[in-house]
């Protein structure tokens, strides 16, 4: 068996140059045909992923903001509703009081008028009664003059007359 001796072997400088050139050419070819396109695509993908992440973050923030806005709007609408109800209640109360007051006034008016009318009717009735009494008295007196009567008879006569006039008015 014959191993090539390391020491004393011819130094193959040509191989060295050949390999230097070979390696350089290989590196250039790899760079042109494989490394370049793949690295470009990896960079693009990295960029895209990073963009996508940024966008996702942005839309997340936007969504959160929107949700907050909605919540605030909801809260506001609740407050609005409460206010509206409160206002309505106040308005209703005021109106009720107003109507009640009006009704009271009207009722008082009507009652006063009725009182006045009643009073007037009573007065009128009394006046007419007096007139009639006077007329009757005159008639009675005329009749008495024609026919003598006792004092008691006369009193009875008058009382019965008055009673017969109006049972409500006499007391």
């Amino acid at each position: 068996m014959h191993f090539q001796p390391i020491i004393g072997m011819s130094l193959e400088i040509g191989d060295m140059l050949y390999y230097l050139v070979l390696f350089a050419v290989l590196m250039l070819l790899v760079a042109k045909f494989a490394w370049g396109p793949v690295m470009d695509m990896m960079e693009k993908r990295r960029q895209k992923i990073s963009d996508d992440l940024d966008n996702a973050e942005k839309s997340r923030t936007e969504a959160a903001q929107m949700a907050q806005e909605r919540e605030e709007a909801l809260k506001n609408s609740k407050a609005d509703a409460v206010e509206i109800i409160a206002t309505a209640k106040t308005n209703g109360e005021t109106q009720k009081n107003l109507i009640l007051a009006d009704a009271n006034t009207a009722a008082k008016d009507i009652k006063q008028k009725a009182d006045l009318a009643a009073e007037k009717a009573k007065q009128d009735a009394l006046a007419s009664a007096q007139t009639q009494v006077a007329d009757l008295s005159v008639a009675i007196a005329e009749k008495l003059i024609q026919k003598e009567l006792t004092t008691a008879d006369q009193t009875n006569l008058i009382d019965s007359f008055i009673k017969g006039l109006d049972p409500n008015e006499t007391k």
Partner: protein, 237 residues
């Protein structure tokens, strides 16, 4: 390994045609590998692209682990190509050994110290070049006096040891693998006729599998150490 290499003289330089052809084959295989995998590059990676991107990620991680982050993009292509090239050179002799008239034509180029030294010198020359580019020539020379001037001889010796360990580690591993493979396949199999052919077959397979493993590990180690040396030259001290 018993076969003679083909050495020709060309412009007064010795060319070992075995290494030249094997290197060309390895480089071509590497190129075909990446070329086929990178034909349809898409935003959503397809299967082939995934394989290629896995390799790129793998070598990029080696660079990232050993380099300041601002230099990573500068050396990632170098690391990627170097890894695939060394890997292919390591594996070539395991499945391909072409022998014509007692002359070996194709074997693992990295089983020859000249080739591993060439690869190591590519790395080290790069590290010197980047160091000079960064500090200027004077700054580069001065970097041998750092951190204190009496370390100058040690720093110079370190350059030689770096060079030798980087190249000879790779060479030793692959050479030993090839030697043992030749011993099992070439000598042991023929020792006792038919019987030895039968029991040497699984041994060969086991050793080939192990050599694939060693070849991968050595490619990884080679690239990692390359990055360590380059980043050492680039680091601020």
């Amino acid at each position: 390994m018993g076969e003679k290499p083909v050495v020709v003289q060309f412009f007064g330089l010795n060319f070992n045609l075995t290494n030249c052809i094997a290197g060309l084959v390895a480089a071509t295989l590497v190129f075909i590998f990446v070329f086929v995998l990178s034909r349809k590059v898409e935003m959503k990676p397809n299967k082939k692209q995934n394989v290629l991107e896995y390799f790129i990620d793998f070598t990029n991680n080696i660079v990232k682990a050993n380099m300041p982050s601002k230099y990573v993009s500068k050396f990632s292509l170098f690391a990627f190509t170097m890894f695939l090239f060394v890997f292919m050179n390591n594996q070539l002799g395991l499945f391909l050994e072409v022998i014509i008239d007692d002359h070996i034509v194709v074997k693992s180029p990295t089983a020859s110290p000249v080739i591993t030294m060439t690869l190591a010198s590519i790395t080290l020359l790069m590290s010197y070049a980047y160091s000079m580019k960064k500090r200027g020539f004077k700054g580069y020379l001065k970097s041998y006096m750092e951190p204190v001037s009496f370390l100058l001889p040690i720093n110079i010796i370190e350059e030689f040891t770096n060079f030798l360990t980087l190249s000879l580690r790779l060479y030793g591993n692959i050479y030993a693998g090839e030697v043992l493979l030749t011993l099992i396949g070439g000598r042991l199999a023929k020792a006792q006729g038919f019987l030895s052919v039968i029991y040497s077959a699984p041994l060969t397979m086991i050793w080939q599998g192990f050599s694939v493993f060693i070849g991968s590990i050595q490619a990884y180690v080679f690239v990692t150490l390359s990055m360590v040396y380059i980043s050492h030259k680039l680091s601020e001290e």
